[in-house]
Symmetry: D2
Subunit: 226 residues, 4 copies
């Protein structure tokens, strides 16, 4: 379904069990897939997702401060840059067509489901180390990659949500996922060695990943019923 | 209705407008007041509130790291100590009577409304300074003081929630509120001077206070309908 | 020479090699031992050490925000309290006798050697996790315990630095060291399991401990030649 | 002497008094100017400065997490990117000519004067807000701009340190200074309004700037006598 996101991510995903499916097959996602998602719901989601990406960029910036090698720093810096200068341009462009400026987006009232997820990620970073932060960022990064790839499969050219699907299915975003996967694999090995999965630390990391995934489910839910 | 919580708190409360009333007169609170709140809802709330207080203690500990005088450090340290060794004992005791150990409480699944509030406070502290942190802590500290004082007024001795009301109406907790109010007044004057309310900074602080109050409303809502 | 500071500390100390001896047998320490340390140097050191303890308390408060169990939170909270309300009283009392108020101490210009050590500890905490913070706190906590115990051995009652030596050799401070040792042992096992010393993580932790010890050497050096 | 670095920076610089001159006219700088600085001292400095820039990039990344507008975020992100992908290339290239790889640089032992400065900046950011962080970053950013511009004046083409001087006197780096100055001006006005200099907060910010400048003096001193 998806590209090669490394070896750690699939194990975290498996550890999340059905929560992963609740997230990647959520009714909101299915509405994007078959085009039945009301436009108003989509726009409401985009506004919240813009705010989400702002805090997501903050979290990747926090990762820069917690990296242990210059390569880790550069990888995280590239992601911050991609987020604040790239990915949000889809949101800014689409919302501009609907009459919302970027200042409107930045100043929009943040939904509690948004606060819950983004601030959980920030706090995972502040209370833990680089790994705690990466595993709470992973569900969003790779989840969107998986969803985008699945929805793009056999999609019509005039699909109502072709822009969104194209963004996440595209080669550029899939490359982001591949690099995030490699970053996670390397960071884990560099700190915890090859048998990391025998450590209590691994259980904690899996729990954080699952928690973040659960909060992604809440985010879609907000998109359906703000 | 309440004791003397300083001069800044009433101004923040006024700036929050109806959101403050939504919080302090919430249906959950009224259920505590007239005793109509179902016991199961109360216990569910206590479990979440235990987790809340753990993160609240973390936030006061963060304040210790951000203080600018030794008196500010001591005031915040005393609050951390009061929280992890004092206030949560009501929760631990009541939940123990219902068969829940402290380990059960610490390990309980955290509700998104809980995550949203507590992590918002932590992030306000990490992204801002001592004042940003204090004004997001204030709605909880002083709000419970106001609610406790109001509910204790004319309360029967055999009130179903006498323990809870007594904790927050009691002299000890009211003193905590008075000290938090004095800490806030002093911290504000020490940084922003006597005409702080003419600064853009003040608008930001009011907005943070209102946001935290809004998240308190969500917390009560969770208590009614988890 | 010292009491039981747990099983992890001696391993970290061994990994630090001669740097540990450079610290615990520094000329400043030997001057305290035989009473030859000039009073002015001692007072200058006390002023810097007061500032040091303020930041040390901040670091333990940061540990409260990074703990993973309520017991870890309580242990760290107790240490913050002991520091801001206890250990610094030796400094405040002695400096008061020399005409310096606590406000003088708090506002004293901080020596770069002091900045280097304390801010290194804070940054270890912010960039890493609970363990990174604990291992940079350990050289100070346990080093002073070791030094105090050694210097108290056969000390005359009218020793010039009996107050200082008595503080760190005393049962109360030795108990602090024992508890810090137990906290470290427990925290390490809880996260990295019984074979933590085979992990790259352990090498990083040893390096941090050694770095902090090296900065302790610089702190004594400052005491001799401010 | 220098370009237009905004209106706040000159006021902070004036408040620093002679410390600013101690920094920008340090013997190390004069050695760069007249070419008398021994090559070994220069290389030793470059190694430490590489490590410095790594932590400087971390500090700008921390600023991304503390920004209050998307423009502030973008400005700080651009600086992180410029540091980890740009400015350090001078260091990497020059050190490579002397046989040192980037891994050697990243793993070099950090001098206490380096630790003192960089971790002071990080802690200013963590304990304060965006402004506390910016004013501790400013002495380095703008100081190097001023020094570069002064040293480039009338410099021979075959100057021993033409690379270094050219980097900091160049249009690209001077633009970085201009943008940092504008960022500081805007951030201050946005938070504290037009009469910020009447607030206690301003005194604190000046003190932080002066402290950071003092630590820059120590950094040059280290360059002369490691």
């Amino acid at each position: 379904m998806s590209g090669n996101y490394g070896t750690t991510f699939p194990r975290l995903r498996d550890a999340a069990g059905t929560v992963w499916r609740d997230y990647t097959r959520h009714a909101f996602v299915e509405g994007l897939r078959d085009g039945s998602l009301p436009r108003a719901a989509y726009l409401g989601y985009l506004v919240q997702d813009y705010i989400f990406l702002i805090h997501f960029a903050r979290a990747w910036a926090l990762a820069v401060t917690k990296a242990e090698t210059v390569e880790e720093m550069r990888a995280c810096t590239a992601t911050v840059d991609a987020l604040v200068n790239g990915e949000i341009s889809l949101h800014v462009k689409t919302c501009a067509e609907a009459g919302l400026s970027e200042a409107d987006l930045f100043g929009a009232e943040e939904h509690p489901a948004n606060l819950a997820y983004t601030r959980y990620v920030m706090d995972a970073g502040h209370s833990g180390d680089f790994l705690d932060l990466l595993v709470t960022l992973a569900p969003c990064v790779m989840g969107y990659g998986e969803i985008g790839a699945r929805l793009a499969h056999g999609m019509d050219a005039d699909h109502a949500y072709a822009d969104w699907i194209g963004t996440y299915a595209g080669a550029e975003y899939q490359q982001v996922c591949a690099e995030a996967g490699a970053l996670l694999d390397g960071a884990l090995a560099r700190r915890l060695g090859p048998r990391f999965d025998e450590l209590p630390r691994w259980t904690t990391l899996c729990r954080r990943f699952t928690e973040a995934t659960r909060l992604e489910v809440g985010f879609w839910q907000m998109g359906l019923a703000p």
